[in-house]
C-alpha cells in the first residue's frame, strides 16, 4: 500500500465521517462544522488527484466563504437543536430506506463501471494540468457560461436585496 492510497483512505474516511456526522448531529452548527470537514477532506483528495487549483478554491470559496455564510445565518437565526419531528411517514418509511438503496445503487453501478472506466489520462500522469491552461479554457472556450455565472451572482445580489430588506 503506497502513500497516496493510505492518504486516500484517510481522507475518504474523514469525508464519510463528516457526512455521517452532518446527518447525525442535531445542532446545525455541528452539522455545518461537519460539512466543513467534508470539504477540507475533499480538497485533500483534489490535491491527490492533481487538481491543485481546484483544491485551493474549494478551501477558500467553499470552506471559507459559503460555509461562513451558513454559520452566519445559523447564528443570526439563533437556530437551536433540531427537533426530530416525524410528520411524514413517507419520508421515514420509504424515503430513508430508499435513500440508502439509492446510495447502494449508485455505488454498485459506479463500481460496476470500473472495468470500462477510461484511463486515457492516467498515462499522462495527471500533473500536466496547469492553472494557465485552466484559465485559457475558462476565458476562451467557456467564456459564455462564465459570463452567465456573473449574472448568477447578480441575481443572488437581487435576492438579498429583495428578500432580506426591511419592510418599507
Amino acid at each position: 500500500m503506497t502513500g497516496p492510497v493510505i492518504v486516500f483512505f484517510a481522507l475518504a474516511a474523514l469525508a464519510l465521517g463528516g457526512a455521517v456526522s452532518l446527518i447525525l448531529r442535531r445542532h446545525p452548527i455541528h452539522s455545518a462544522l461537519s460539512l466543513i470537514v467534508v470539504m477540507v477532506a475533499l480538497a485533500g483528495l483534489y490535491l491527490l488527484l492533481g487538481a491543485e487549483f481546484v483544491a485551493a478554491v474549494q478551501v477558500i470559496v467553499y470552506g471559507g466563504a459559503i460555509m461562513v455564510l451558513f454559520v452566519f445565518v445559523i447564528m443570526l437565526l439563533n437556530a437551536g437543536i433540531e427537533e426530530r419531528t416525524n410528520l411524514s411517514r413517507m419520508a421515514g418509511l420509504v424515503g430513508l430506506p430508499l435513500g440508502f438503496f439509492l446510495t447502494m445503487q449508485l455505488v454498485y453501478w459506479v463500481a460496476h463501471s470500473e472495468s470500462q472506466m477510461n484511463a486515457a489520462g492516467i498515462a499522462a500522469g495527471g500533473s500536466a494540468a496547469s492553472t494557465r491552461d485552466l484559465a485559457v479554457l475558462l476565458f476562451r472556450d467557456f467564456v459564455f457560461p462564465f459570463e452567465l455565472t456573473s449574472f448568477l451572482i447578480l441575481i443572488a445580489i437581487i435576492a438579498a436585496l429583495v428578500l432580506a430588506q426591511k419592510e418599507s
Binding site: 470500462q116 477510461n118 476562451r140 472556450d141 428578500l163
Partner: protein, 477 residues
C-alpha cells in the same frame, strides 16, 4: 476559437434580456417615486419586445455559437420566441398585480428578464454545463420570484419548497452531467455519440439527467412540488412558471433527445411510464381541487404528461407536436393565470373556484376568455389546445403507441370534468355574495386579447406554425 462578434449576434436575445434586466435594476432608484412602476413597466415591455425582435438574427443565421456551446437552430429560435413572448405577457399582466400588492417593479422585471435569459440559454445550449448554468439562472430567479410577496406565508413557503426541492433535483442533474462526462469525456452533446463510451456510466448519467429535467417539467413522480409552488407563488409568477421554465426544460430534453441518439433507447420506457403517470396524477389530483391556482397547477402537470407522450413517440411529427403543444399551452396557461391574478384581488383572496360564481354575468368578457382557455386546456376543437392534442395523438399513433394514446384519451375525459366545473361555476351558479365587477386594466386586457386571439388563431390556422416546427433540420445534429 476565441468568441467573435458573430457569436454575440447569435445570442442577441440573451444579450438584450440581460442588459435590459440590469438596466431596469440600475435605473429604478433614479426614477421618480410616483411613476416608478409605470416607467419600469414601459421599459420592461419595450425590452421584451426588443428581445423578441432580436431573435430575428438567429432566425436568419442558423449555426453554432461559442465554439459549439450553443446551437442556433429552429428549436432554439422557437423557444426564444416562446419564452420571450411569455415574458412579455407576464410583464404586461403583472403591472396590475405589483401595484395592487405594493411590490417593487424594477427588480421583479429584472428577475423575469434574467430568468428568461436563462431559459433562452437552456433552449440553445448544446453543452451540458451551459445548459446547467442556464437552468440555474432561470431557477434561482424563479426562487426569488416565488417569494416575491415577502410577507405572505404562502409565498415564502412556495419559495422554500421550490428552492429546496429544485436544488435537490439540480444536484441530480449535475451528478448526471458528471457521469456522462465520465462516460464520454465530454459534455458537448454533439460529441457524445462518437468515441469511447462507458455504457454503465452513460446510462446512469442520463438517468440522473432525466430525473433533473423531469423534475423541472413536473413529470411524475417528480411532479410533487408543482401544486404547492404554483399555489403559493404570486400569480403572475405562476403564469411564468407554468409556461417558461417548463418549456425550457422541455427544450433541453428535446435537444438531448435529438442529438444523442442512444438516449432514445435509454429513455423510452421511462418516458412512457412517466407520461402515463403524469397524466393520471395531474388529472386525478385536479378533480378535487377547490382553489383555481392549485387546480391549474395540477392541470399543468397533466399537460406535461401529454407532451411526454409526444416525446415517447419520438418521431418528426412528435417533435412538431411538442413544440406546437408547448406554444398553445403557454398561451393558454399565461392567459388563464392572468385572469386568476386579475380576479384574485388584493392579497389573492378570491382564488377559490366558488369565488367565480356568477362571473359570467358580472364580467362576461373575462368569463368568456377564461372559458376559452379552459376549453383549450380541455381540448375543444377550434382552440389551439385541440390541435395540440390532435398532433400528439397523431405522433403517438404514428409510432404505434396505441395504449398510451388510449390512456391519453381517457385522461382527456377525466380532465374535462374539472375544467367544465369551473365553467359551471362561472355560468350556472349564482354568486354567494355580491362582488363588484373589477375593471380590467388595459395591460391585462391586452394580455387576454393576445392570448385569446392566439388560441383561436392557432386552433383554426395552424399552418404557419406547423410548417415551421415540422421542417427538416429544425434541430441541429
Amino acid at each position: 476559437m476565441f468568441p467573435m462578434i458573430e457569436d454575440l449576434r447569435r445570442v442577441a436575445p440573451e444579450l438584450v434580456l440581460c442588459s435590459v434586466g440590469t438596466l431596469l435594476m440600475l435605473l429604478e432608484p433614479f426614477l421618480p417615486l410616483s411613476r416608478r412602476r409605470q416607467i419600469s413597466t414601459v421599459l420592461a415591455v419595450v425590452g421584451a419586445v426588443v428581445a423578441l425582435a432580436a431573435t430575428m438574427y438567429p432566425l436568419r443565421n442558423a449555426g453554432t455559437a461559442f465554439g459549439g456551446l450553443l446551437a442556433i437552430d429552429g428549436v432554439s429560435v422557437f423557444f426564444h420566441l416562446l419564452v420571450g413572448a411569455v415574458a412579455l405577457l407576464v410583464i404586461l399582466a403583472s403591472g396590475e398585480y405589483l401595484t395592487r400588492e405594493n411590490l417593487a417593479a424594477g427588480e421583479f422585471y429584472a428577475l423575469v428578464f434574467f430568468a428568461t435569459a436563462g431559459m433562452g440559454v437552456m433552449a440553445s445550449a448544446q453543452e451540458l454545463m451551459t445548459a446547467f448554468i442556464g437552468l440555474e439562472m432561470s431557477s434561482i430567479s424563479s426562487y426569488i420570484l416565488a417569494s416575491y410577496r415577502r410577507r405572505a406565508l404562502k409565498s415564502n413557503e412556495s419559495a422554500m419548497k421550490y428552492f429546496l426541492l429544485g436544488s435537490f433535483a439540480t444536484a441530480f442533474f449535475l451528478y448526471g452531467i458528471a457521469m456522462v462526462y465520465g462516460a464520454t469525456g465530454t459534455t458537448f452533446l454533439q460529441n457524445m455519440s462518437t468515441g469511447a463510451q462507458n455504457l454503465v456510466l452513460l446510462r446512469l448519467g442520463f438517468a440522473m439527467i432525466f430525473i433533473g429535467l423531469a423534475f423541472k417539467v413536473a413529470a411524475a413522480p417528480f411532479q410533487i412540488w408543482t401544486p404547492d409552488v404554483y399555489e403559493g407563488a404570486p400569480t403572475p409568477v405562476t403564469a411564468l412558471f407554468s409556461a417558461g421554465p417548463k418549456a425550457a426544460a422541455f427544450a433541453v430534453l428535446l435537444r438531448i433527445f435529438g442529438t444523442v441518439t442512444t438516449v432514445h433507447e435509454f429513455w423510452f420506457w421511462a418516458l412512457w411510464i412517466s407520461a402515463a403517470l403524469t397524466m393520471f396524477v395531474g388529472n386525478l389530483g385536479a378533480l378535487a381541487q377547490s382553489n383555481v391556482k392549485r387546480m391549474l397547477a395540477y392541470s399543468s402537470i397533466a399537460h406535461a404528461g401529454y407532451v411526454l407522450v409526444a416525446f415517447a413517440a419520438s418521431n418528426r411529427i412528435g417533435l412538431a407536436a411538442v413544440l406546437y403543444y408547448l406554444l398553445a399551452y403557454a398561451l393558454v396557461k399565461v392567459g388563464a393565470f392572468t385572469v386568476v391574478s386579475h380576479l384574485g384581488g388584493e392579497g389573492e383572496r378570491r382564488i377559490e373556484i366558488n369565488d367565480y360564481a356568477g362571473l359570467g354575468q358580472r364580467q362576461p368578457a373575462t368569463a368568456a376568455v377564461l372559458t376559452l382557455y379552459l376549453l383549450s386546456l380541455l381540448g375543444m376543437p377550434i382552440t389551439a389546445g385541440f390541435l395540440g392534442k390532435f398532433y400528439i395523438f397523431k405522433a403517438a399513433l404514428d409510432s404505434r403507441l396505441i395504449v398510451l394514446a388510449i390512456l391519453m384519451a381517457v385522461n382527456s375525459v377525466i380532465g374535462a370534468y374539472y375544467y367544465l366545473r369551473v365553467i359551471v361555476v362561472m355560468y350556472m351558479r349564482e354568486p354567494q355574495e355580491s362582488v363588484a365587477a373589477v375593471r380590467l386594466p388595459l395591460t391585462v386586457g391586452l394580455v387576454l386579447v393576445i392570448t385569446a386571439a392566439g388560441t383561436i388563431y392557432l386552433g383554426l390556422f395552424p399552418n404557419q406554425i406547423m410548417d415551421f416546427v415540422s421542417q427538416a433540420g429544425l434541430l441541429q445534429r
